[in-house]
């Protein structure tokens, strides 16, 4: 089955120059391994096609059951140079939550997601 990240995580995003950061936090600690497995840097780069022009880095914060993503070259130059409505990348958090990931029916049942 497929499930949208809105069901599994919450997030906050911000900027550093032309890089947007997205912190993705498991809604329940049990969901974290699923996020680690499915929400890879490659998946995120593909998800943000047309938005993120550079590379995507991922960092694991298992202490917080969270992942941090850096999306380089995503903010139209960043800071005051950017012409974008969201020059600070504040809505990249919810944009990431649109992602849908795969999990088996068994796994969904174990996590109480069925």
């Amino acid at each position: 089955m497929q499930i949208q990240l809105t069901q599994l995580a919450h997030a906050r995003s911000g900027d550093k120059g032309d890089t947007a950061n997205v912190g993705l936090i498991a809604l329940k600690d049990d969901y974290y391994p699923l996020l680690v497995r499915e929400v890879t840097a490659e998946r995120v780069k593909k998800h943000f096609t047309g938005i993120c022009k550079g590379s995507v880095e991922r960092f694991e914060l298992s202490n917080l059951f969270a992942l941090n993503f850096l999306l380089h070259e995503s903010l139209g130059g960043g800071g005051t140079l950017s012409l974008m409505t969201d020059a600070q990348g504040k809505t990249f958090s919810t944009a990431l939550l649109r992602m849908k990931i795969d999990l088996s029916d068994d796994e969904a049942r174990t996590l109480g997601l069925d």
């Binding site: 997030a11 005051t80 012409l83 649109r98």
Partner: protein, 455 residues
């Protein structure tokens, strides 16, 4: 030594809720009030203000605020750390001194100032000696924008503020100082932490990171169960209740709105995060992967277990430079076919700009209501959208070209697709772009100055 110290966050940025610091002082017990006023390009604005008026160049809001809270601060021995001094720290201190005089508080407390962050007069000398001040993001040497620099300041850390507090300053005013240092300095001063106690310095730094964005750690801009965050109208700003062992509790005053809980603190910890293993400040390198959080009762989150690493040999430099001009124009198109009409208008506009021979470094069209925030991820819009805002921005080096663009928006009302409105604001304004240039320089080049004197 006190068992615990309560540091209250009063401002998330210059322009945050004006009464928040007052409510932090009046709402309950605190020992320190920290106020962060400096965003990345704020210094250049202050530099311009000072060029027009030698008495200006600092966060003006700070003075009336101090006038309002000084009597309580003095009576209750609440100390203030603020990077309100901008490019005129002395001027700011003098204005506070004047306010103290009007309140009859002259000589009743001490003001400390921290300077030495301004390297603007030294830029050529530094470049000549091979300190290139390369852009940390692009790698370009500063010489490429040398003639357009408007301000250049290093970020000073906590220690100069500690020196001011040690000399009895009740109000510490700095120029460019890290926002985390504004919280860390009081903890070092009170608990006597050493310069190499990296774990504790990192703990104080992370406490600072959590409270430096104001209510963003106490229920503001929080996704987790946002509907049920109580009474944001009366939101309480965050307070770090810190202990000598480096642990701390994030909380807020009783009888305030908002919410402090573990998910909300997690959100704030990840805000503007780079590599979580290396949160670099002048004072230490904090490792965010060591942070432990624990629910410690209603609106209380305990933070512990933090491990830090030694500070680096460098200071970050914040340089601002003039980078051309920009303008953004908007029009609103209504049902039916709102999106299609907005797209048609954009095509007409671009064709006219082309015919006029106007060229820009960048031209960006967004459709607010369709895809302005989530781009292609938003999917195809409903054909029944009530309205769409067309938003076109341009950027270029020539002011006249950008200005000419601003005169092509309004004509679309009578010369483009129908169902258009939303032009009450007049022509778009041309804005000068002051861009941010982050760089590094060796710490040994900088000598902070600390002066403490009677108010």
């Amino acid at each position: 030594m006190k068992e615990k110290i309560r540091v209250a966050g009063g401002q998330g940025f210059w322009g945050d809720m004006l009464d928040a610091p007052v409510r932090q002082v009046e709402g309950g017990p605190i020992d320190y009030l920290m106020l962060d006023y400096l965003a990345e390009v704020t210094m250049s604005i202050m530099q311009k203000q000072r060029a027009r008026d030698p008495l200006a160049g600092y966060a003006r809001d700070f003075v009336p605020l101090m006038k309002q809270i000084l009597p309580q601060c003095v009576a209750r021995n609440i100390r203030v750390t603020a990077n309100a001094g901008g490019v005129n720290v002395e001027g700011c201190a003098n204005a506070v001194r004047e306010a103290a005089g009007e309140l009859g508080l002259s000589g009743k407390f001490k003001i400390g100032i921290v300077t030495g962050d301004d390297i603007m007069p030294r830029v050529d000398e530094l470049l000549a000696r091979g300190i290139e001040l390369r852009n940390m993001d692009s790698g370009a040497p500063l010489s490429t924008v040398r003639d357009r620099i408007q301000s250049a300041n290093v970020y000073l850390g906590a220690w100069p503020m500690v020196a001011a507090l040690n000399q009895g300053a009740q109000i510490v005013i700095t120029g460019r100082a890290t926002d985390t240092g504004l919280t860390l300095a009081p903890l070092i001063h009170e608990f006597g932490w050493s310069e190499t106690d990296w774990d504790k310095l990192s703990s104080g730094t992370i406490a600072g990171h959590i409270i430096e964005c104001g209510a963003q750690s106490s229920g503001g801009n929080c996704q987790y169960d946002w509907r049920n965050i109580p009474d944001l109208a009366n939101v309480g700003f965050p307070i770090a209740e810190a202990y000598a062992d480096g642990t701390f509790v994030i909380t807020k005053h009783e009888r305030t709105g908002g919410r402090v809980n573990v998910p909300g603190i997690k959100e704030q910890l990840l805000y503007e995060m780079g590599d979580p293993h290396e949160y670099i400040t002048p004072d230490c390198v904090a490792d965010f992967t060591t942070i432990q959080l624990e629910d410690a009762g209603p609106d209380r989150v305990r933070v512990y277990g933090i491990v830090g690493l030694p500070a680096t040999e460098f200071l970050k430099v914040s340089i601002s430079y003039s980078a051309g001009y920009k303008a953004v124009g908007t029009l609103v198109y209504s049902w039916p076919d709102a999106y299609e009409k907005a797209q048609a208008a954009d095509k007409i506009l671009r064709s006219r700009l082309e015919r006029l021979g106007l060229h820009f470094d960048q031209i960006l069209t967004e459709y607010v209501g369709v895809s302005a925030t989530h781009g292609p991820l938003a999917g195809a819009p409903s054909p029944d959208l009530a309205e769409v805002q067309l938003r076109v921005g341009v950027r270029g080096n020539d002011k006249g070209t950008v200005e000419r663009f601003t005169k092509e928006i309004a004509p679309l009302i009578l010369t483009g697709p129908p169902g258009v409105t939303g032009f009450a604001g007049g022509r778009p304004k041309v804005e000068e772009i002051v861009a941010y240039w982050p760089a590094l320089m060796p710490k040994t080049e900088i000598t902070p100055r600390v002066e403490v004197s009677d108010a």
